[in-house]
Amino acid sequence: MSLVARQLTLRHNGEVFLEDISFTAKPGITVLVGPTLSGKTTLMRVLAGLIKPDSGSITVNGNDVGKTSVKDRSVSFVYQQFINYPSLSVYDNIASPLRVHQPKISKEEMADRVTEVAKMLRITELLDRKPSALSGGQQQRVAIARSLARKSDVVLLDEPLANLDFKLREQLRDELQRIFSDASMMVIYSTAEPLEALDMASHTIVMHEGRVQQDGLALEMYSTPKNIPVAQAMSDPPLNLISSNLASKGSQSLGSALKDRFNGSFTVGIRPHNIALKSQKSNDIAISGKVRIAENTGSSTFLHLDLEDSQKLVLELDGSQRFEVGSAITVYLDHSAVFGFDTESGNTLFSPSAVR
C-alpha cells in the first residue's frame, strides 16, 4: 500500500501555493511539518481531491486518483476545527460516513465498527450523547473516530490538536501514535509544532513556502537539516541565527573560532539549550551581550540577550534563574552543537556531528 504524489503544483493569480511536491507515504503516519502558510493545508486539500492541482499526479495503491470524484475516493479528512453533526448522537456521527459510502453494510457490522473505533478513542461511554454535551477534546475524538470508521486507505489529519488545551494535546498525541502505528492505512498528519513531529518519531516531510524542503525521519531533520527553514521548522524554541562576523572573546570573530568547520563568512545557528553561562569545554565559544529579558517557566529560564550589531541570542537554562535587565554578560556556545548556513541561500554548510 502506498500514496505517491508526483510533482504537484498549484498556482493562483501568479502566487505559488504548491510547487513540485513529490513524496511517497507508506502505511502508518507521515507527518507534514512547517509554519503557518507553508502549504500544509492546501496539500491536504489537494490529496483529498477538494482542490485540483494545475499539474502533477496522485496515485493510491497504484491507481491514479486524479479523475476520481471526492465522494469515490477512499479518503477521510479531520479538520483543525472539529466538525460534528450537532443534531446526531455520537454513535450516529461516527456511523454517518459508513451510511453514505457503504450503504450496503449490515447493521451488525456497522455497530461493530462504531464500537471498535469508539473503544480505540475511549469514547464508548459517550456514544448516546450529542456533541454539544462534550468537551473540545471529546469532540475532536469523535471527529477522529468518524474518520477511522470508514477504514479509508488515506486519513488526512490537518493540525487535529491545534484547538485543544495544551495538556489534552500531550495526551491525545500519545494515543494517536498508538492508534495509527499499527494501522494499515496511510495517515497524513500536519502540525506546526516541532515537538509534535519529534514525538511522532516517524516519516516526516518539512514544508516551507509551498515546497517540500526535506523528507526523512524527524530526528534526522532535527540534527542534519538541509537548510535554515528545515532547521527552524524542527526547533522549539527557535534556533538562534547570528553572523559569523560577530566578535568572540579571545579570538577575532565567531567565524575564526569555527574555521575548522568552515572557512569564510556564514550564518551561525545554535539552539538555545546549547549555550551556557559557564565554559564547560576548552573550545566553547565566548560571546558577550546585554540582558534584555529573562522568562522563567520554573523548569527553565529563557534568557534573551542583545548582542552587538542589533543581533539577538536566546539561551535556555535549567531551573529558575534571575538576571538584571541591562546587565552585561558573557555566555558560551558549545562548539560541537553549532550549525553553519550559507547566508545567501540558507543552505547548510555543516551540522553538529551528533544530535544536540
Binding site: 503557518t36 530526528l219 529579558i293 520554573g298 544536540r356
Partner: protein
C-alpha cells in the same frame, strides 16, 4: 491603572444549581501581570468576563481601586480588551485602527501620533501603519489588535483572552518577549487568560491556576513548578507533568512497596498510611545499579535536546527527563533514583510534605 479586588465573587450559569466559578476573594495589586491558567471549563474565561463586565457575577462584588464596579457595564468600566481573534475595522488603515481608541476620547492629535508610533515600534508593526489590516496575514492582524488594546494609558487594566492563538509558533517567542518587555517598562495592570502554561508562566508575575471552578494555587512560575500545593498543579504545570507514585508512611519513614526510600519532612507529622509521591521528570533519575525501586523501560522518546524515558513500575508509571547521552533503551530494567530535596508527599491530593532521601542508590 488600578488594583483589582474581588469579594466573594462567584458565578452560576444555571441559576445556582452548579457554579462555573465558585465564590473567591482576592486582590491583584496595581501594576501586576496576572495569568489565569487552566483547562477548558475551569472557569478562567468566566473570571475574565466578570472583570471586564461582560458578565455580572451571580454573587459578590468587584472593585477597581476600591470603587465598586459590579453593576457597571464594560464600556463604563473602561477596560481595554484583546480577544483570541483580530477585531479590527477593515475600512481604516492600521494607523487609524490604532488611533481609534484615543481619538474616541478626544486625545490631542500630536499625542495620538506619538503614542501610535510608540506602540507600533514595540510590536514591530511600524512598516504596516499605512495599509489596511485585511491586506495583512492573520498573525500580523492580531498584532494590530494587541496594539489597539495597549494604546490607552488611562484604563484600569488590559485584559487578554488567549491573544496568541493565531500567532505562528516561531513568532510567539518574539511576541511573548515583547509583551514582557512592555510590562517591565510600563507596569500596566494586565490580566491574561490562557491554557498554555509556557505563555502564562513566562508572562505573569503571578499565575492563578484554576480547575473545576476553583483557584487551586496562585504563585510565581517557580512556586508552581517547585512547590505545587495540589496534585492538579503538579500535573498541569510542567511538560510532561509531575509523576505520582503510590507509597506509604510509617512512623516518618517513606516506602514504596517494601523499599524504604527516605524520611518524611513535614511541618506537621504525617500520620501513618497511604500517600502519593510526587516527583517531576526533571528531578527523577534512573540507575542500573541494581538496588531500589525496580521499573521496566517501555519507551524512549528523543525530543531533540533531551530524552524522555517512560518506565512502568508496580506502583505507577513514570517519565524521567534525561540528557541526550543517556543510554537506556526500551525493554531494559532500571531503578528509580529520587532527588534528595525535590520529592514531595501528597495526601488526599494536597501537599503534605517532602521526602528526604539519601540521593543516588538508596
Amino acid at each position: 491603572m488600578a488594583e483589582i479586588r474581588l469579594e466573594n465573587v462567584g458565578h452560576s450559569y444555571d441559576g445556582g444549581t452548579t457554579f462555573a466559578l465558585n465564590p473567591i476573594t482576592l486582590t491583584w495589586e496595581d501594576g501586576n501581570a496576572i495569568a489565569l491558567l487552566g483547562p477548558s471549563g475551569c472557569g478562567k474565561t468566566t473570571l475574565l468576563n466578570i472583570i471586564s463586565g461582560l458578565l455580572t457575577p451571580s454573587v459578590g462584588r468587584v472593585f477597581f481601586d476600591g470603587v465598586d464596579v459590579t453593576d457597571l457595564d464594560t464600556a463604563k468600566r473602561n477596560v481595554a480588551q484583546v480577544f483570541q481573534f483580530p477585531v479590527l475595522y477593515d475600512t481604516m488603515t492600521v494607523r487609524e485602527n490604532l488611533s481609534f481608541p484615543l481619538k474616541n476620547r478626544n486625545v490631542a492629535k500630536d499625542v495620538i501620533a506619538a503614542r501610535v508610533d510608540e506602540i507600533a515600534e514595540l510590536l514591530g508593526i511600524n512598516k504596516y501603519l499605512d495599509i489596511r489590516p485585511q491586506k495583512l496575514r492573520s498573525d500580523l492582524q492580531q498584532l494590530v489588535s494587541l496594539g489597539r488594546g495597549l494604546v490607552r494609558r488611562d484604563v484600569p487594566a488590559i485584559l487578554f483572552d488567549e491573544p496568541l492563538t493565531v500567532i505562528d509558533q516561531n513568532f510567539k517567542w518574539t511576541l511573548r518577549g515583547r509583551l514582557k518587555e512592555m510590562h517591565n517598562s510600563t507596569r500596566y495592570t494586565l490580566v491574561y487568560v490562557t491554557h498554555d502554561q509556557t505563555e502564562a508562566l513566562t508572562f505573569a508575575d503571578d499565575v492563578v491556576v484554576l480547575n473545576q471552578g476553583n483557584i487551586v494555587q496562585t504563585g510565581t512560575a517557580s512556586d508552581l513548578f517547585l512547590a505545587p500545593q495540589d496534585e492538579f498543579v503538579g500535573f498541569f504545570i510542567g511538560s510532561p507533568g509531575m509523576n505520582f507514585i503510590n507509597a506509604s508512611v510509617s512512623d516518618g519513614s517513606v516506602s514504596i512497596g517494601s523499599t524504604l526510600i527516605g524520611t518524611a519532612v513535614a511541618e506537621h507529622p504525617i500520620p501513618n498510611g497511604e500517600v502519593r509521591l510526587g516527583i517531576r521528570p526533571e528531578f527523577l533519575t534512573l540507575s542500573s545499579a541494581g538496588t531500589g525501586t525496580d521499573v521496566k523501560i517501555n519507551r524512549v522518546e528523543h525530543r531533540g535536546g533531551y530524552k524522555l524515558i517512560h518506565a512502568d513500575g508496580p506502583h505507577g508509571n513514570v517519565v524521567a527527563k534525561l540528557p541526550n547521552d543517556s543510554a537506556f533503551v526500551a525493554g531494559e530494567k532500571a531503578q528509580l533514583v529520587f532527588h534528595p530535596e525535590r520529592t514531595y508527599l501528597f495526601r488526599d491530593s494536597k501537599l503534605a510534605g517532602r521526602v528526604s532521601t539519601k540521593g543516588a542508590g538508596q
